[in-house]
Amino acid sequence: MDRGLYIAASGMLAEQIRQEQIANDLANASTAGYKADRTAQSTFGDLLLANSGSGAVVGRQSTAVQVAAIETDFTPAAARDTGEPLDFAVTGEGFFAVQTPQGVRYTRNGQFALDSQGRLVTARGDLVLGRGGAPIASRDGKVDARLIGVVNLTNPRKEGDSLVSGTPAGAATGQVRAGALEASGADAARAMVDMIASMRAFEAGQKVIQAIDDTLGRAATQVGAVSGS
């Protein structure tokens, strides 16, 4: 009986994590080059129930649910024209390579600027790497989009600050376009629907707990009660 309580509670916890993921997507609805996440849930591992007398298998029973993974959907989003000479978007697959203090990181947020030496940098001041892996210098305040390196990644993983880590796997097929930024991959309509679905699943978990609580309460107070009292 009380196993059901824990199963319902684990479901509520999992929905809570999904809700956090959706809140993050919504907060990044305007972040250029942002990639939306998906929360995948899985059962925690089944118990095989058997008749203790005869040994006959009765069936399986799930013990709980957990969030198995939060996957990032790296599908390219549409590019949006800004007309700024130092805004770049990758159309198609691939990432810009950026030299950060922690090592080379990758990004699809192409809102770049020049540093005091005329080199192309990200908004946070990290150097953007060219096709050969070297920084890109500009003479006249403009940068040729073809000079910027685009790298394919295996196992890309979001690191925050619009950066992504991963293992480079050669040049990508994506083309760099100047004067544009990639729109956020967060889909507001989908996020709202997911949020409602998740909230209702959470609510259902609460109802299950209440129902079990009711049953337990009755077992405790009514089963042994003397009738008429």
């Binding site: 929905e15 809570q16 994590i17 809700q19 907060a27 305007s30 250029a32 949020m195």
Partner: protein, 245 residues
Amino acid sequence: MLQGLNSAAAGMAAQQQRMDAVANDLANANTTGYKHQRVGFRDLVYDQVGRSSAQGVRTGSGSAAVDAGRSFAQGVLQRTQRPLDVAIQGEGFLRVRLADGREALTRDGGLQIDGAGRLVTSAGSLLQPQITVPDGVPEDAISIGPDGTVLIDGRNAGRLDLVTVRSVQGLISVGDNAFTTSPASGPETAAPQTTVLSQGALESSNSDMAESMVAMIEAQRAFQLASKAITMADEMMGIANGVKR
């Protein structure tokens, strides 16, 4: 749950910053030589979520606004026929000295003559190098060439210095249409030869009304969406509270 609340609140704060920038752009739709502000966004750290999840399950913590500097796109030239109005065509700035003594750069070319006969900007900043107009000379007698040479009654009276910096995004806006250099922008260098001055015109603000309106709508909607996530988180906490009646 609390993390979800904070992520959404961070998103709202970021949108608010964009709204502030848009409001400033709209307020300066008629400011000579104004350059519109650009606001970008970035996502924040991804943290491992605690119990009830497998290893490597991480949720983000919202977004933050990024100051992407100004857009230095050329503004439209407006003919005024006033001899002391100059518009810069192309990359570059006029050098001025602010009231507090700091050197600054501006693209506001609505020049005036101050009490001592010196050329100043409309905000009262002294043009550098100083150019003095002798007493009694009518404004019509002043001619400013494309390269900045100032002729008063046909005699050379000095030159308007056109400069630029390596990284215009690194300039710091100090108000009064002026920018100061910073370590990020690099020192002043001569403007390219292609930059010319045009007398009798002013450069209008490059903030685009339609673009600002679209940005405003977008910021408002994104703000609203993030606030919905807060409402939802609140509701879920209410449900969790209702587990024990």
